[in-house]
């Protein structure tokens, strides 16, 4: 029974996601094509063992005389740890902001007041605009002579200064994705029966206490799923930094995320890019594993366990 219900999902994911992952892992152990001396044409690079991985993780490059050297700045490999740091920074900050603001949005949307429909419509707007357009919009807004600087009478280099460019991306991402959080949390809130609040009110609990002791635990499952998927998405962030800053800012790589590095490397050499994709996959896997284990145990809790919990 369970197998039949789950099979369609697993089969589809195996074809569309599983197959590319497996090919990427296989390719990551092949060298990228090198030039054949006689013809000037690219020829297959042969077996690479783990050299593509060493390239990224240990910044090992080959120089013209075939010796292993530390990758020089301007080689994509030298940017790996920086990109990892930038990616984690964006993930932590945007997910934290989006969780807090999203919860606030959801609580307001869950109240009954005149104009609630307007608020719900407004919240959908940032998220309904295709990301490709959003990124263009913010690029336009954050241009040196754009509206952001015009409004604040400032001359901030939003796409070049180290921190300004990072915050430009954080602002744009938070604006764009908070509705996702808000909608998921709202769905969680809508499942809480009113009488639960009634009881709290009878007890004379404050709004904050009601939120912490009643609302939060009840929306925790929805919240955890929302945060988990936001983390997975943020760790793979590409469009916004790619269009807003091209990964630039600071000394040149202040906003380069892992996915930007993957895309650039795909253009320069596919097999090495496969290794980087696989590394990124493992990093995200570890983060998700820790998250599920430490924080979100009930994400994978079985019905049985839940019922046991009920009886206990």
């Amino acid at each position: 029974m369970a197998a039949y219900l789950i099979a369609p999902t697993i089969v589809l994911l195996a074809i569309v996601i599983g197959y590319p992952i497996v090919t990427a892992i296989i390719q990551s152990f092949q060298k990228d094509p090198g030039l054949d001396a006689a013809t000037g044409q690219f020829v297959s690079g042969g077996f690479a063992a783990v050299s593509n991985y060493a390239h990224w993780l240990l910044q090992q490059c080959m120089n013209a005389s075939g010796n292993t050297i530390a990758c020089p700045p301007g080689n994509l490999g030298s940017g790996f740890w920086n990109a990892t740091g930038v990616t984690f920074f964006f993930t932590v900050v945007t997910v934290a902001l989006e969780t807090v603001i999203g919860t606030w949005f959801a609580i307001i949307m869950n109240r009954t007041f005149r104009g609630r429909a307007l608020v719900r419509a407004a919240i959908l707007v940032p998220w309904a605009i295709p990301t490709a357009v959003t990124a263009k919009l913010w690029y336009f807004i954050f241009s040196v002579a754009g509206i952001a600087n015009a409004l604040f009478q400032s001359h901030i280099l939003w796409t070049s200064d180290t921190w300004a460019s990072r915050f430009a991306i954080i602002i744009a991402d938070t604006w764009k994705t908070t509705p996702f959080m808000a909608l998921l949390i709202l769905a969680g809130l809508q499942l809480i029966p009113e009488e639960v609040y009634e009881a709290a009110r009878v007890d004379g609990a404050s709004t904050w206490r009601t939120f912490v002791t009643i609302t939060l635990p009840l929306i925790k499952p929805a919240l955890m799923v929302a945060i988990l998927f936001r983390i997975l998405d943020a760790l793979r962030m590409y469009d916004l930094p790619a269009i807003l800053t091209g990964g630039g800012g600071g000394s040149g790589n202040a906003t380069t995320t892992l996915s930007i590095l993957v895309v650039k490397q795909i253009r320069a050499g596919y097999n090495s890019a496969s290794a980087l994709s696989t590394i990124t996959f493992l990093i995200i896997f570890i983060v998700a594993f820790i998250f599920v284990r430490v924080l979100g145990t009930n994400v994978v809790r079985t019905q049985e366990a839940q019922q046991k919990g009920t009886k206990a």
Binding site: M62, P72, P73, N75, S78, S143, N253, G269
Partner: protein
């Protein structure tokens, strides 16, 4: 061993010029098939600005009812055009017959064996074409694509403030006092971290007499006083404010915006700025826009980086004879004039630039011709994506003052040789 191989390649590149005539098609299986076959084909190009390609194809189709051309239009973004071509070549797509290839991708695609060498019965006449455009389509001594449209840098200046445009970088820098008096910024090109930065850095280095890579397309040649002088000029100008700090965020459009708003004395940009600055409702420089070749380094005008596209025939095409005819159709003077008048696309045929009726319509043509005549293709390297990353990353840091020019050039050179050694 690697070094030995590299020097052989370097030798081959030069020898290639000699052997070009008699060497048979290299390893790729498709390059000698379908050479005489005719039939319907597909032409693949990025977004057709201002509707140039469709009328041309209609015209072709009317004359060739059995060899109709279908237009496959890609996105407006160069990166996506590149990726789309790579995907389709890897999949050996027979329906990508003639493809429009950016000058900087030609070497890469040629070395991957995806482009039909234009030799033997596929040869085209190149004597009327501007030499720089032919060089951009040549790899290992063989022509792999037909230059289709070109592009070169132009120095725009405010004719109300500057009577005679500067002919050298030093003159332009001393003219910056005029900008100071007028309360505006002096000079800007494109210095955001993207392909435009490579264009501008290559221009600076080439104009100063240096080069980025050697003739083989792989060996960095940045450890020279000329290369250093070129980059140093940009770094100094940014530091002392002759290039405004905002210019580190400029792509083409932001620079045009600043110039049209009257906030810039000099602007390095492409020909397209001219007609927009003349007609845009918001432009404050409609009657005060001046044109000049890029400033040089004492001897003649500056060495612009070459832009533009080449038309190439896919080795997987099934109807190469038709494809070959279509490519020649794109090269014809008539088509080239249409590119210029309808699409503001710079012709690759030298004679078109001096056509009096065209010059009266597009007054920038003589200046552009001078620019393209002395233009230098960006490194013609099969490893171009890695080369341009090496240039952008290090030049960006140097211009912002985060690393010294010496270190930037050393790192740039190291990253370029790493790129061609399989990283």
């Amino acid at each position: 061993m690697k070094a030995a191989r590299l020097s052989v390649i370097a030798g081959m590149a030069i020898a290639g010029l000699v052997f070009a005539g008699c060497s048979s098609g290299s390893g790729s299986t498709g390059s000698s098939t379908g050479l005489t076959s005719r039939g319907p084909i597909t032409y693949v190009q990025g977004k057709d600005n201002s509707n140039v390609v469709r009328p041309l194809i209609d015209k072709w189709n009317a004359a060739h009812p059995n060899e109709k051309v279908t237009f496959k239009e890609q996105s407006d973004k160069a990166d996506q055009q590149h990726d789309d071509l790579v995907q389709n070549f890897q999949a050996k797509n027979k329906n990508y017959d003639v493809v429009d290839v950016d000058v900087v991708w030609t070497a890469e695609f040629a070395a991957k064996g995806w482009l039909q060498p234009l030799e033997g019965q596929m040869a085209i006449k190149t004597t009327d074409l501007l030499p720089a455009t032919v060089a951009s389509a040549t790899y290992g001594g063989k022509l792999y694509a037909a230059p289709q449209t070109s592009d070169g840098g132009i120095l725009y200046y405010r004719s109300d403030l500057v009577k005679t445009p500067p002919t050298t970088w030093a003159e332009m820098m001393s003219d910056c006092s005029i900008a100071k008096t007028a309360g505006i910024d002096c000079f800007a090109g494109q210095y955001a971290k993207y392909e435009g930065l490579t264009v501008n850095v290559a221009e600076a280095i080439n104009t100063a007499g240096g080069t980025i890579v050697g003739k083989d397309g792989k060996t960095p040649t940045l450890n020279t006083p000329e290369a250093k002088k070129g980059l140093q000029q940009l770094v100094d100008a940014y530091k002392n404010g002759n290039i405004p700090s905002a210019a580190i965020t400029y792509q083409e459009e932001q620079g045009r915006q600043a110039f049209e708003a009257g906030k810039l004395l000099f602007l390095r940009n492409w020909p397209y700025v001219y007609s927009l600055a003349k007609t845009d409702g918001s432009s404050t420089v409609k009657d005060t826009i001046g044109l000049a070749p890029l400033p040089g380094n004492g001897g003649g005008s500056g060495d612009s980086s070459l832009g533009g596209h080449n038309a190439a025939i896919s080795v997987y095409s099934q109807h190469k004879a038709t494809a070959h005819d279509f490519v020649q159709f794109l090269e014809s003077s008539e088509t080239q004039k249409f590119f210029a008048t309808q699409g503001s696309l710079a012709p690759v045929v030298a004679s078109v630039y001096t056509d009096p009726t065209l010059v009266s319509k597009l007054p920038y043509l003589p200046v552009l011709l001078e620019s393209i005549k002395s233009a230098v293709p960006r490194p013609v390297s099969p490893f171009y994506p890695a080369v341009t990353t090496a240039v952008q990353d290090n030049a960006y840091a140097a211009i912002k003052g985060d690393v010294t020019v010496d270190k930037a050039l050393t790192d740039m050179a190291a990253a370029i040789s790493a790129a061609s050694s399989g990283n």
